[in-house]
């Protein structure tokens, strides 16, 4: 080991060398330090060179793994800022050329992301460990495990000449023949152009600017031009040379001659000229527009992200301003209807001269090609949004962040509907700026989001009242509707539209935050769910209120208070919707959490989609009691039938149907298979949406009478039960009607049933003005199957409404034609029939009247 000490090393470099010597000083060998040069000739200024060798004997080599020496020599370049900057590894040999994670044949790349993988505290110890890991993986052929991100080689050069962003998948050379053609460039600014298409030589190129724009789906006015592009058939392991001559010579080995390159430059220049009228060829200030391309794209096959898949084209861009200038002035007019070699001849003279004088200059090139890039949100729930069409209702505290999330996730289209304007108080927590004040939120938001990914995502603003604007929108064209309005009217409107629309709606997510922005709820009605946002939130309230653990009590208090909230927050004087208090941090956090939850749910397999609600809470301070974490509630679809009278949806919760079935089964077992039974239905009627919710069913009270063709619902304990349920559900679930069975016969109302319906709604005492009569029945196979397996019975529903103002009770409740010999059963849990005749007179239970 020898040290040439000339210039002073930094403290960091000294640390690196000390650590390195600790390692190489090991009695067991393993790592050997040959030489340290503090002023190496071939390194960037200030770097210290340390040449080491690493024992690699005994590493198992797999098929396709690198052949390593038993002692591998490497040169380390230690930066002055070590350990805050990572040393470079260089190999003098090019034995690793072409291997994954080897840049330009000589630079093994140890870290994909130094920010996360490099630990300054572990310094050289970690670095050498990483080097050992690299050699182990290299020998095992595991450097390029499938799915690993691509590590594109760089062309090192002067980056002051601009920037190219490559957006479209590049062509590849086929059958060992190089690909020749042009890249279609969209000029974004003086410094930047985007590659938005590829035009092979020999096929027609867009004859006009409009055609070129159309080909790349660019808006009118977008400036487009062509740049020549060549893609070699062979994997290049050479470092890109630094003179044009050397580069051309290297390309010639891939059967791309100087003549072809120069000819292609000419053809592209000519086409650029033809795309423009004479007027367009001059810029606004009178200077000639650069007709000739200023870039030449050069592609070589390189590995793709899949590792074992086909090789992808690796691109670099060569900056040719001088040459372009010469061509423009002297030679452009010559390129009309010529063949490539012929054109090449004509400019060979210019070219030859140029080749010898020009150094190659590479411009910065950023990859945005789908084929070689992996989105950063890949494998996250947000990946669901990519390419989707989203309708965002509301552009406020939740809608604006949600729309932003969708745009960043690469949604193909967003429609943002909101009619409100930006007020001065809004920027405190919504992503709007001072300059936006007075403008519609939807317009401002769309304009901002349209800048995120203009080549991939379009945002369309609709400034309108949602209930009026929605019919004009084709809701079925969307994949997801986000209702971020926190508006009951919008919710009811959507529920109704969704119900009456025969086609299945897209996924619908309804999000809300609490009055202090500390809690949020997302109600999810996936495609095919029976309930929309209003329905799901209603059952959220029911579940939260009746949760025996009380874990959701805060949610009930915040979102579903029994008493209307009295302290409403009016942010500005004057007439305004009451709003909530909360900061940008609160609402953005809640929006992000709710969106993540929704996207997780949407990512589950379609056959597992259910109506669901997510509750989230923001964290509190370190010494405060911590709120519970996110929680999902889920519900299977309801059984839906249509009310005979109103056409309303009758949504029977699975729990209610299960209760009916349990009673029917018990009845069949205890009272005989043909004895009817029944009970009460609890729920609610929503006339705005046209939905009758059946939440619960009860069995027959003890004073009921049950026979084969007759069911008389008793009253024992009924008022008390109803009162208890009203209290428990915050009056959400009330007396709704009565159900009974028609074992083995059609679910159709009999004459007796029709009479009962009228009696039920008579204006007596607290009798309801409307009540649902539900009949479960069906022919024998259907009935038996329901009892045995739970497969739905035939159902009949009718919302009986009070039609008369009758004041007298009917003469009798005994149905006509009652068979004398019938066996009668009481309700409740009796297990014996009543054989003696006296039909019990209807009784009022004691608790019916306090």
């Amino acid at each position: 080991m020898s040290d040439r000490t000339t210039t002073a090393v930094t403290a960091g470099q000294q640390l690196a060398l000390d650590q390195l010597r600790q390692i190489t000083g090991s009695a067991r060998g393993g790592v050997f330090l040959a030489h340290v040069d503090t002023a190496p000739a071939k390194a960037p200024t200030g770097f210290v060179e340390a040449r080491i060798s690493v024992g690699c004997a005994g590493l198992s080599r797999a098929e396709g793994g690198l052949r390593l020496r038993s002692e591998e020599p490497v040169t380390l370049y230690i930066p002055p800022d070590f350990p805050f900057e990572v040393p470079l590894v260089y190999t003098r040999h090019s034995r690793f050329a072409g291997a994954p994670h080897v840049v330009w044949a000589h630079f093994p790349c140890l870290y994909r992301s130094t920010a996360t993988e490099w630990d300054p505290a572990d310094g050289m110890y970690g670095f050498i460990t990483r080097l050992l890991d690299w050699f182990r993986a290299a020998a095992a052929g595991e450097l390029d495990a499938p799915g690993e991100p691509l590590h594109p080689p760089h062309a090192v050069g002067d980056y002051a000449d601009g920037l190219l962003v490559v957006r479209r998948d590049a062509p590849a050379a086929e059958d060992d023949e190089p690909w020749l053609g042009a890249a279609l460039l969209h000029r974004i600014s003086d410094e930047r152009s985007d590659v938005v298409g590829w035009l092979p030589f020999g096929q027609p190129w867009p004859p006009t600017l409009a055609d070129a724009r159309a080909a790349a789906q660019l808006p009118n006015g977008a400036e487009v031009f062509l740049a020549p592009a060549v893609i070699t058939a062979d994997h290049l392991t050479f470092e890109y040379p630094d003179t044009a001559r050397a580069l051309i010579t290297a390309l010639a080995r891939g059967r791309i001659t100087a003549r072809m390159v120069l000819g292609l430059v000419g053809v592209a220049a000519d086409h650029n000229r033809r795309l423009r009228t004479a007027a367009e060829q001059t810029g606004p200030d009178g200077t000639p527009h650069p007709l000739a391309p200023v870039h030449l794209l050069l592609g070589t096959p390189s590995r793709g992200t899949s590792g074992h898949g086909p090789r992808r084209t690796h691109l670099v861009a060569w900056h040719l301003p001088d040459f372009a200038d010469k061509l423009t002035r002297r030679a452009v007019t010559a390129y009309v209807d010529r063949q490539l070699p012929e054109l090449g001849d004509e400019i060979m003279q210019i070219g030859e001269e140029w080749l010898d004088t020009l150094t190659t200059r590479w411009i910065r090139l950023y990859e945005a090609r789908p084929e070689v890039t992996v989105r950063r949100d890949h494998h996250t729930p947000a990946a669901w949004l990519h390419g989707k069409r989203i309708l965002v209702l509301g552009a406020g505290a939740l809608g604006a962040p949600a729309a932003d999330i969708c745009a960043r996730a690469g949604a193909a289209h967003l429609t943002v509907v909101d009619q409100s304007l930006v007020h001065p108080g809004i920027p405190a927590r919504q992503p709007y700026a001072d300059a936006d004040i007075g403008y519609p939120k939807a317009d401002v938001l769309a304009a901002r989001l349209n800048q995120i990914a203009p080549h991939a995502t379009r945002i369309e603003p609709v400034v309108a009242d949602i209930t009026r604007g929605l019919p004009a929108l084709d809701v079925h064209s969307f994949d997801l509707i986000l209702d971020c309005t926190a508006n009951r009217v919008v919710r009811a409107f959507l529920e109704r539209a969704r119900r009456t629309d025969p086609t299945h709606w897209p996924h619908l997510a309804t999000v809300m935050i609490g009055h202090q922005a500390t809690r949020g709820i997302a109600a999810l009605s996936p495609h095919g769910a029976t309930g929309g946002g209003a329905d799901v939130l209603r059952r959220t309230a029911l579940t939260a209120r009746t949760d025996p653990t009380g874990a959701l009590a805060d949610m009930v208090e915040d979102f579903f208070p029994t008493e209307p909230r009295t302290e409403l927050f009016q942010p500005e004087p004057g007439c305004s919707d009451a709003t909530f208090t909360g900061s940008a941090a609160d609402v953005t956090a809640l929006a992000g959490q709710l969106m993540t939850g929704i996207l997780h749910a949407l990512n589950t397999p379609a056959d597992q989609h259910t109506m669901a609600a997510l509750t989230v809470r923001t964290p509190s301070g370190p010494t405060d009691p911590q709120p519970a974490g996110p929680r999902w509630l889920t519900w299977p679809n309801d059984t839906i039938i249509t009310d005979d009278a109103t056409g309303y949806d009758v949504r029977i919760a699975p729990a209610a149907l299960a209760e009916m079935r349990a009673e029917a089964r018990r009845g069949a077992r205890v009272r005989g298979p043909r004895v009817e039974t029944g009970g009460m239905l609890l729920g609610a009627i929503d006339d705005s949406t046209g939905i009758i919710y059946v939440d619960e069913a009860t069995g027959p009270p003890p004073d009921s009478l049950l026979a084969e063709t007759y069911f008389q619902h008793g009253l024992d304990g009924v008022p008390r039960h109803l009162a208890a349920r009203r209290t428990a559900t915050g009056n959400t679930s009330r007396f709704l009607g009565l159900w009974h069975t028609h074992p083995h016969s059609p679910a159709q109302p009999s004459a007796t049933d029709r009479t009962a319906m009228e009696l039920l709604t008579l204006p007596l005492d607290d009798a309801p003005a409307r009540a649902l009569v539900l009949i479960a029945g069906g022919p024998q196979p259907v009935w038996q199957k329901w009892l045995a397996t739970g497969d739905g019975p035939d159902l009949y529903a009718r919302l009986a409404a009070r039609t008369t103002a009758a004041t007298t009770p009917p003469a009798t409740t005994v149905p006509p034609g009652r068979p004398r010999s019938a066996l009668w059963w009481p309700g409740g849990y009796a297990t014996r029939p009543t054989t003696d005749n006296p039909l019990p007179a209807p009784r009022r239970s004691d608790d019916a009247r306090p």
Binding site: I23, G30, I52, A57
Partner: protein
Amino acid sequence: MVETELPERGVVFWPVGTGDSTTIVLGGDLVLQVDLRDMKAADEKGAVVAAVIDRLADTLPRPNWLDGKTPYLAVFALTHADLDHCCGFGDLLDSGILIGEIWATPRLWREISEDTTMCEDAQLFQDEVERRVAATLEALENGEEPASGDRVRIIGYDDDRDQHSYSELPDEYFTFPGKTITMIDGNDLSETFEAFVHAPFKGDCAGERNETSLALQIRMHTGDGTTGRLLLLGDLAYPTIKKIFDNSEYFSNTDRVEWDLLLSPHHCSKKVMYAKGEDGEEERKQDILDQFEIYASPDARVIASSRPFRDQDEKGHNPPHLLARDAYEEITVLPVLCTGEYPTQDEPRPVVFALEPFLGFELVDVAELESKSLVMKAAGGGRRMLAALGTTRFPAAAFTATAALPSPRAAAAARSAVEQARGDKAAPATPLGFGDA
């Protein structure tokens, strides 16, 4: 390596103290030995030098065309007649090994005629060469080719040649600087082997003995187009080596000075790159180091065939010189490999470089040789010999025969070096007392 087989060909540098003993295994039955140092110390308890002749006798091929029993050394080449290059030659003659052909320089004849002091082994070597010259001339007189065992090749030119019997040999028994040898004891190896002669130069024939050393570039080719290149420069010092580089550049022969392995001249002597300047003071000669660097391959490696390096150079110290080692390490990435330190000072082993496809000359890890030696010995041929030589143990090894073989080039050693440096498993080694009494 998962390669289950050691290649058939390669180079072995023996740990023989400060001296040279290089065995080049050419495949088939052909082995070329350049110089020899077989010291009495090798037979003593605790020896850290190899008993080269015994091991050669054990391991050399015993071709059937001979008698299936006699160990066969195709060529013995002597770079020059110093004891540290020919020690034990007499024993070699007596060992029962058949030496097919001997390569010699004309220098010995000059020394004998000038009555220069010469060691006994050099004298015996010279006698043997004389015998071969006579036998060859006799065979030719009888219209026959000299038999294996009688062959001789004179390399280099001396202007006193007319005074000596060898001058009667026909031209094909001579090779002059600038020429290539591809015949090994009558076998044409031109497809796989070349020995390019750089020196002795005609003009140096009367110079210091060291400066008349035979200098060769050995090239060995594999089937996949890989070439391994070894520079053997004897005990040459700065002026002659500089001349070799300059001549090669002048004659556009620079491919003949390219190297993957360099047996450092004169056992890693500083005289290669330190010489007297115009003021008569010794100075570092960067020009020759630059030339060494230019013609070195990226993975080039310098071998010091010497005792272990001392901690520092002192005036009057014989080679190996730290100054030389440092100078070489300035131009290579791989550290200088000292035969006396490989794999450890306590238990040196012959350094085996196998000729690998794609890699060229490749250091074969001792542990790997050990673990595979049984298989490889069974494989026979050069493979067997490389394995056998690489696993040679010396008496010193007897102490540690049961201990794990040190394997400083194992990947595991590298990991443990980092762990040790970082202190991953560090713990106090001894009980320690504290107190204010």
